[in-house]
């Protein structure tokens, strides 16, 4: 179950970051493409945390 969850998260992130970072199919993985993929995953996680905090604060204000 946990493994299925992990795999489906990796599928979703690869989907998003592939579209953002891989604009051209090269004969081998380019260093700059790899850096973009790493940053993309990190920023996507940052964005999730930011939005979770912001939604949490709003829920707090409503009380």
């Amino acid at each position: 179950q946990r493994r299925a969850n992990f795999q489906s998260t990796v599928h979703q992130y690869t989907d998003v970051c592939w579209d953002k970072c891989i604009t051209k199919i090269r004969p081998a993985m380019d260093k700059s493409d790899e850096v973009c993929l790493t940053n993309c995953v990190e920023r996507f996680l940052d964005s999730t945390i930011l939005l979770l905090n912001s939604l949490g604060q709003q829920a707090g204000h409503r009380k």
Partner: protein
């Protein structure tokens, strides 16, 4: 709620973080906050319109 968060994150990340760098800069953070607010408002407008029409 889980699904709303996931939709907001996907839509807003696509719009606000065009070139992911080594951290979220402040303009990206502002954009994400605003985008999240707008998306929730849009959700409410859609929900109200749909309910009004369904009656």
């Amino acid at each position: 709620f889980q699904e709303l968060l996931s939709k907001i994150n996907t839509k807003c990340f696509a719009k606000c973080v065009t070139k992911p760098g080594t951290k979220l800069d402040s303009s990206e953070q502002t954009c994400l906050q605003r985008c999240s607010d707008r998306y929730q408002e849009a959700w409410n407008v859609v929900s109200n319109t749909y309910l009004r029409r369904a009656q």
